[in-house]
């Protein structure tokens, strides 16, 4: 899925999109993060921002300090130096997120959209049909049976793109077209082969399956997990979904409202890329 060489696409006079490959998979995304780390290490003064994404990265730069041509040459040289092999370990926090599948707020949001677009199939039913799942319980089981790799953050502060790590846990879905104008805070969605958690009430396009009562974004930094940042997750973290009942969901909502909720975050783990790939291959499917 990796291209032979990097492909560069200028985005106006201050940005360039660097495409590494075509597809959504762990190996490609890990290669993106390796390249981003190497670019950061090179500390090129003209670079203002880097956005790592699933199969590409975007660099914002000051064109009055470095020309597009020089920047592209520099990035290509870094990529050639680091190569495309993937191995090693990296620190990776495991964040367990309680989720209430098919709960009231997401159901109301889906129905609100369907009042304008009555032909839109209800999200969980569409997902079951497209992925050969017999019912909603089977959908929830498959969705919660894997750890997810935080491949990228973007679109909104803290919004995460989650790739399932367990082979066979892939669920795919088309995105809404046109997009929704609103989505409940904490909603869990599936689009393409990705899951996401909506950090706030925002527009959106992923098919909705439930809601996490514990926030992944806290602009006021009230909860302990947000002491250092407004956003909970970082690229390279892993997320696991823990299904909870409506009662437990309501209890967590109340704990969050009271400023007492403590997130379940395991800080001491490392992620071994080689061992992960071996494990994924042993499970008989491409990672």
């Amino acid at each position: 899925m990796l291209h032979e060489t990097l492909r560069f696409f200028p985005g106006g006079d201050r940005a360039v999109e660097v495409e590494l490959g075509d597809g959504m998979d762990f190996t490609l995304n890990f290669t993106v993060h390796r390249l981003v780390a190497a670019i950061r290490e090179a500390a090129i003064p003209a670079i203002e921002d880097i956005i790592p994404e699933l199969a590409s990265l975007q660099i914002n730069y000051d064109p009055d300090r470095m020309s597009y041509e020089d920047l592209v040459r520099e990035i290509a040289a870094i990529y050639e130096r680091i190569g495309t092999g993937i191995s090693g370990t990296l620190p990776s926090r495991l964040v367990t997120m309680p989720v209430s599948y098919f709960e009231a707020e997401t159901t109301a949001c889906i129905e609100d959209y369907r009042r304008t677009y009555p032909d839109k199939r209800t999200d969980p039913d569409l997902l079951c049909e497209l992925n050969g799942l017999e019912d909603r319980a089977a959908l929830a089981r498959r969705h919660s049976a894997t750890e997810y790799w935080v491949a990228a953050l973007g679109f909104w502060p803290g919004l995460c793109s989650l790739l399932p790590l367990r082979p066979g846990s892939r669920i795919t879905a088309p995105k809404y077209n046109p997009p929704r104008t609103w989505t409940p805070k904490g909603a869990v969605g599936i689009g393409g082969a990705l899951s996401c958690i909506y950090p706030d009430r925002t527009p959106g396009g992923y098919q909705l399956i439930g809601r996490c009562p514990a926030p992944i974004y806290d602009g006021a930094q009230r909860l302990p997990a947000f002491r250092d940042s407004l956003a909970l997750l970082r690229a390279g973290d892993r997320v696991r979904f823990r299904p909870v009942s409506a009662e437990e969901c309501a209890w967590i909502d109340a704990e969050v409202a009271a400023g007492r909720y403590e997130h379940d975050i395991v800080e001491y783990q490392v992620f071994s890329v080689d061992r992960y790939l071996d494990w994924a291959r042993a499970h008989g499917e491409k990672a």
Binding site: P63, P157, G158
Partner: protein, 327 residues
Amino acid sequence: MSTHSITVLKPGLETTVQELPGRIGYLEQGFPVSGPFDKWSFRQANLLAGNPRDAAALECQFLGPALRFECDAVVAVTGADMRPKLDGQPVPMWQSVPVAAGQVLELAAAYTGARGYIAVSGGIDTPVVLGSRAVFHMARVGGQALAKAQILPLGAQPTGPRDLLAVPEAVRPPFPTDRTWQIEALAGPNDDWLDDASVEMFFSADWSVQAKSNRTGIRLTGPEFGFAGRALSKGSDHGQDPSNIIDHGYPLGAVNLAGQTPIILVNDAPSTGGFINPFTVASAAFWKLAQAKPGDILRFRRVDREEAARLRATLETVTSAGVTVRV
């Protein structure tokens, strides 16, 4: 209450504190750059107020605020013509205006343009969040839009006599009289997802600004796009619609195509997403997007990186300290 402050009597429609260069370095976590939408007017306002040109100042959208000064200061109003009044008496835009403690500055609805700027001597001194005072109000980063009775702290006021300055008309941002804007834009990053005729069409059609436009995006109405092979025969990871692509970064100023609706991504726009960006507005032309009102017409003129660099140099000149004159 701090003596160096402003009290908000009326907040206006969506008035925010903005600062340059904006929130740099946090796009990877999804925080937009924010900052003033019309950098040209913003910087000139600061120069007139005696500030560094990038200091924190106020951006007003469509309808301006009413502000009571709790200290003597110098203020400057630029950008959209919101008919500023001091204690009910009209005051000129594009020049320094001395105000005394207790006086009230009030801006009305935009007569021409869409966004007005108010700079105050000493700058606005709200807390720095993730490296900037710029407000991304939709996610409450750096604060929110101004609220009634809010108190805005100001930086230290210079002492002694001050020069009163003006920006000559020739170096102010030129607003068209026929509500038609020429916007310089570059092809890419994803122009290869459209068919050739649609690339040509983008640069020749009239595009109307929709009412649902704000600091996240300028929505356009116009003709339909046709797609190239890359958009029509692609892996399923890219999504179903021809305009879908595997999630990628969004450049500032990108013309983002969601289905058939082009949305120009501006200061508070999403950092990433799953739609193509066939064109990108030249950075020196962003200010025009800030001043285009719903119903205005945009016409895009294709430029290359060299011309975009010349436009940046011109903008740099007209926003440098040398452009002001004493009054």
